[in-house]
């Protein structure tokens, strides 16, 4: 008897880094075709495609179809900040869940190599007469004059807010998180950077927005990721090998931020993540203690700390002690970002929310080679896009 479960049948990520010879359509198509091959299916099987390229011109889903197969299926172009990839995955998931189709393809891609600081606002002023514009009736750009819109600065404040609330976190601790992720990256051949740094090197690197130095910021790079999803009923008709390698999506959750007092001045990345985590654990019927590995959205070292708490990997308020215990290193009790995380694996924005699922699937399939977390059965992938959107997927190894 088939259930209404949805499975990941095939999944792939390109090498993250600098791809001077490929554009976003090339990278997306490469990942998509590799995901189809990994699942042992073709475009002829797909009933839906959902794709995102945040910095692109739009229409990436149809551009991918033109590269790899135009079959007339519904194509969704999604844009949801850093949660774009997770949103694409969830669109394919929902299409299958609704009974509209048995197979779906989700793709995320971005080219960010050489892109500088990502900030929120800048505007041109003619300098002749003051003109009020924007939601605050400002006479010139507010970024830098009324606080910061730059991402390293915003997420620095997110971490410092946690430090203020609970104590125990300082510059060295945040840098320690970065030290861990860079160390993890040395085992990931697809990471943009695979270089281990000492704590001193990280703390003495170029300061971007205290306490985030350059090594503590996500790496702008190019990359694509894609996943093929299948219904439980259809999976049961496929080969034993396909069924054995399939990874169950035990929960696919997307939240936005509920109103909180301070959310107009500092994005609240906590409440929506906590809510998504609560919903995901309830849906999957597991607790955080059941997780064998977690890929969470360490867009900055300061962000990783708060998500230990938000994902309930530690006691409320206890994220600093939790990190100091060594729990989140790959040999700890709760390995976090064994891929190297966004700080070293890289963060091609729209690809990130599928690439983190790929990392978890890789371990659940026991195919992660040198960095394999032994015996991994359940994992969690988390992304957050400012605005805000939070995507969480809980993934489980096939019982076969």
């Amino acid at each position: 008897m088939a259930s209404d479960d949805v499975w990941i049948l095939g999944i792939n990520m390109t090498k993250f880094g600098k791809h001077t010879d490929k554009d976003t359509v090339d990278l997306a198509s490469q990942a998509a075709m590799a995901a189809l091959a990994d699942g042992g299916v073709t475009m002829a099987d797909m009933g839906v495609i959902a794709a995102g390229c945040l910095m692109g011109q739009g229409g990436i889903a149809q551009m991918i179809q033109k590269q790899i197969g135009q079959t007339g299926i519904p194509a969704y172009n999604v844009s949801n900040a850093c949660a774009t990839g997770a949103t694409a995955l969830r669109v394919a998931y929902m299409s299958i869940k609704s009974g509209e189709c048995d197979f779906g393809l989700a793709v995320g891609v971005e080219k960010l190599s050489g892109v500088g600081l990502l900030s929120g606002g800048s505007r041109k002023d003619d300098g002749k007469t003051w003109n009020r514009a924007g939601r605050y009736g400002a006479v010139a750009a507010t970024d830098g004059r009324i606080g910061t819109d730059t991402m390293p600065g915003v997420f620095a404040q997110v971490g410092m807010e946690y430090a203020h609330k609970y104590g125990g976190a300082d510059f060295a601790l945040f840098a320690g998180i970065s030290e861990k992720n860079h160390a993890h990256s040395t085992l990931n051949p697809l990471a943009a950077y695979q270089k281990r740094f000492t704590l001193d090197e990280i703390m003495n690197d170029m300061m971007i927005a205290y306490p985030n130095t350059r090594a503590m910021c996500s790496a702008n790079c190019d990359g694509g990721a894609a996943a093929v999803l299948v219904s439980d009923a259809k999976l049961k008709t496929l080969s034993l090998e396909q069924q054995r390698r399939a990874v169950k999506i035990s929960a696919s959750i997307l939240t936005s931020d509920p109103y909180q007092e301070a959310c107009q001045v500092l994005p609240d990345v906590n409440t929506l993540t906590r809510r998504a985590a609560e919903q995901a654990y309830a849906k999957a019927g597991i607790g955080p203690e059941d997780l064998d590995l977690v890929e969470l959205h360490d867009c900055f070292a300061t962000a990783e700390l708060v998500h230990y708490d938000n994902l309930m990997l530690c006691e409320p308020g206890g994220a600093a002690d939790f990190f100091k215990s060594g729990a989140t290193w790959r040999d700890g009790s709760m390995p976090v970002n064994v891929s190297g995380g966004l700080e070293s694996k890289g963060h091609p924005i729209a690809a990130t929310g599928i690439a983190n699922v790929w990392e978890v699937c890789h371990h659940l399939r026991n195919e992660a080679g040198d960095r394999q977390i032994q015996g991994a059965k359940v994992g969690l992938a988390h992304v957050i896009g400012l605005g805000s959107a939070c995507g969480i997927h809980i993934l489980e190894k096939s019982g076969l």
């Binding site: 939601r135 606080g147 915003v154 620095a156 404040q157 203020h164 300061m207 927005a209 007092e261 500092l266």
Partner: protein, 147 residues
């Protein structure tokens, strides 16, 4: 205020006082500089920009509320890389002004972690952002250490 000058009276030429306008609409310069929010009359949620309905309770009635000019630093960062034209490093902070969170730069304090701390007491101050060709000065706000 205006008054008629006696005919023939010598008028001393002094520099004209430049017209001043607030950098953002939610900054009020008179009688003393302070921030003003749109406060939901149903639930009290405060917004610095205009809203069609309250993001918290969906109420559609708002009134002006003056924000306390003193507060404590709840979070901060020291920004070393910023948009062109912004002097760095500068301190961006989230300030708890008697229950209302405000975002702003810290000023009159050295922009390093030895001089800025979580929980420090600050108060609102103003400064001239610049003048346009007509000589009109835009006045911005920031927060400075409160003794």
């Amino acid at each position: 205020m205006s008054f008629a000058l006696p005919r023939g009276c010598l008028i001393l030429k002094t520099a004209p006082v430049p017209e001043q306008i607030p950098f953002v609409e939610y900054l009020q310069l008179a009688p003393t500089p302070h921030l003003v929010a749109h406060q939901c009359t149903s639930c009290g949620a405060r917004f610095f920009d205009r809203r069609n309905a309250c993001a918290s309770c969906f109420g559609t009635s708002f009134e002006d509320a003056s924000i306390a000019t003193e507060g404590t630093v709840r979070s901060f960062t020291i920004v070393s890389f910023a948009a062109p034209g912004i002097p760095v490093p500068f301190v961006s902070a989230i300030i708890d002004c008697d229950g209302t969170s405000v975002r702003g730069n810290l000023t009159n304090v050295s922009a390093d972690p030895e001089h800025v701390s979580l929980g420090m007491k600050v108060r609102l101050t103003t400064y001239t952002v610049g003048a346009d060709e007509a000589g009109t000065e835009a006045v911005g706000f920031a927060f400075e250490p409160a003794a």
